[in-house]
Homo-oligomer: 217 residues x 2
C-alpha cells in the first residue's frame, strides 16, 4: 500500500518519536511505500488563515470556507498545502500519530486537518460529497495515539468515558465524513510513566499491528 | 461577573466578529467586567512547544507534561501564557467563541487550550486534582459556536449525530475535567449562508442569552 504517515510530536527523543521510527521501518519492511509528514520537524504552519490562498476570491473579506472551495477548484492553495494534498491523493492509507491532548489532536495536528482536509478537496457540502460520497472515498485512515491517562479513565465506567465513543468526532465526523474507511485506533495508555521494558513491549505490539495491516485491513 | 471572552476567528468583518462585538457590548451593559483574548488579532502562538518554558527542567529532552508541571510550580511559562493564566484566574466565567471546524476547535483555539490549560494549572493528575477537585473549580464555561452545517446534520438522527454528545470531549473531558461548571452551548447552525435578516435575528438571540447569564446561570 501507499501510506502517508502524519506525525505530530515536538521531541525527537520522545516515546512518540520512537514509535514513529519503528513504524516507518516496519512499514518499509512490509513492502509498503511510505511518505512522512513530520509536522514539528518541518515547521508546518498550524493555522488556517488568509495566507493559505495564493489567489483569493475576495481580498476585502476573508471567508475560509469560500476560499477553500475556490482554491480547491483552481489549485491555488499555498505550496505547503498543495504538497500535503498531493500526498493524500497519492496515498491508499493515512496514519495519524500524536499524543492525545484533551481527548483530541494537539493544535499542530488539528491545523493539518483544518488546512489540508479543505472544503472542495476532502468533502463538498455544495455537491453533497460527504460520507458515502466523501472525496477521499477508497482510502483508509487510522489513529495512533499515546495518552498520559490510564485506560481506566477512558473506559466506559471511567471518569472521562469510552475513548472510542469520545473520538467519534474524529473517526466519524471527520474521517468517515470525508469518505475515509476508519481502522480501529491504536492507543497506548499511561504513556507518561512507562518503564523501558513496557516501552519496548508497546512498540513491539504496535509493530505487530502494523504488520497485520495488509492482511486484515 | 468577571468574564474572560476567548475568541478565534481570523476575519474582523465576519459574522463571528459581529457576534463577538455584540457580546462584549451586551456583557458590559449588564455590568459584567469583561476581558477579551482575541487570538487571531493578537497573533497568539498556537502551538505548545519548548519555547513555552522560560526555565526548562530539562534541556536535553522536551517532555511537555513534565515542563508544564514544573512551570506551574515555578511560574515560569512564557509571558503570553502567564498573561492568559492570570486572566483565567481572575475570571468567574470563560466564554469560548469560534467557528466549528471538524466538530471542534479551530487549531488556534485548540492551541490556547493546550498551552493555557496546562498540567499543574488547570488540573493535576499527580495530586488527583481533576473533575470535582479540578483546579478551575468555582468557575463557569460556555461554548459559543457557529457551524456551516445545518442543525439536521448534527441532530441525533443526522449523519454526524447529536452535537452535544459529540462535544463531550470538550464539555466533559476538558472543561469539567478542570473543574469548570459547563453552561449549555450556544450554537448557530447554517452560518455559511445566512440572510442579513437571519444574521440580525441570531445576534439578537445571542444577546438575549447573554442577558440571562447573571439571572439563571
Amino acid at each position: 500500500m501507499k501510506i502517508l504517515y502524519i506525525f505530530a510530536h515536538p521531541e525527537p527523543k520522545s516515546f512518540n518519536s520512537a514509535m514513529k521510527e519503528a513504524a516507518l521501518e516496519t512499514l518499509n519492511e512490509q513492502g509498503h511505500e511510505v511518505k512522512l509528514s513530520d509536522l514539528f520537524s518541518t515547521g508546518f504552519k498550524p493555522v488556517l488563515d488568509r495566507h493559505d490562498f495564493l489567489q483569493p476570491k475576495r481580498t476585502d473579506v476573508f471567508n475560509p470556507f469560500m476560499e477553500q472551495m475556490n482554491a480547491s477548484k483552481n489549485g491555488t492553495f499555498s505550496t505547503d498545502i498543495m504538497n500535503e494534498m498531493e500526498k493524500v491523493t497519492w496515498a491508499d492509507m493515512l496514519i495519524f500519530q500524536f499524543p492525545i491532548y484533551f481527548t483530541g489532536f494537539p493544535s499542530m495536528m488539528k491545523g493539518w486537518i483544518d488546512r489540508v482536509f479543505a472544503a472542495g478537496f476532502a468533502f463538498n457540502p455544495a455537491t453533497g460529497n460527504m460520507y458515502e460520497t466523501g472525496l477521499l472515498k477508497g482510502k483508509k485512515a487510522m489513529l495512533v495515539m499515546t495518552a498520559g491517562a490510564d485506560e481506566a479513565l477512558y473506559s466506559k465506567e471511567g471518569a472521562h468515558g469510552d475513548i472510542n465513543e469520545l473520538l467519534r468526532y474524529i473517526t466519524h465526523c471527520t474521517f468517515e465524513y470525508t469518505g475515509l474507511e476508519v481502522l480501529h485506533s491504536h492507543i497506548v495508555f499511561g504513556a507518561g510513566k512507562m518503564s523501558e521494558e513496557r516501552a519496548r513491549s508497546e512498540i513491539s505490539s504496535y509493530m505487530d499491528r502494523l504488520r497485520s495491516l495488509a492482511q486484515h485491513e
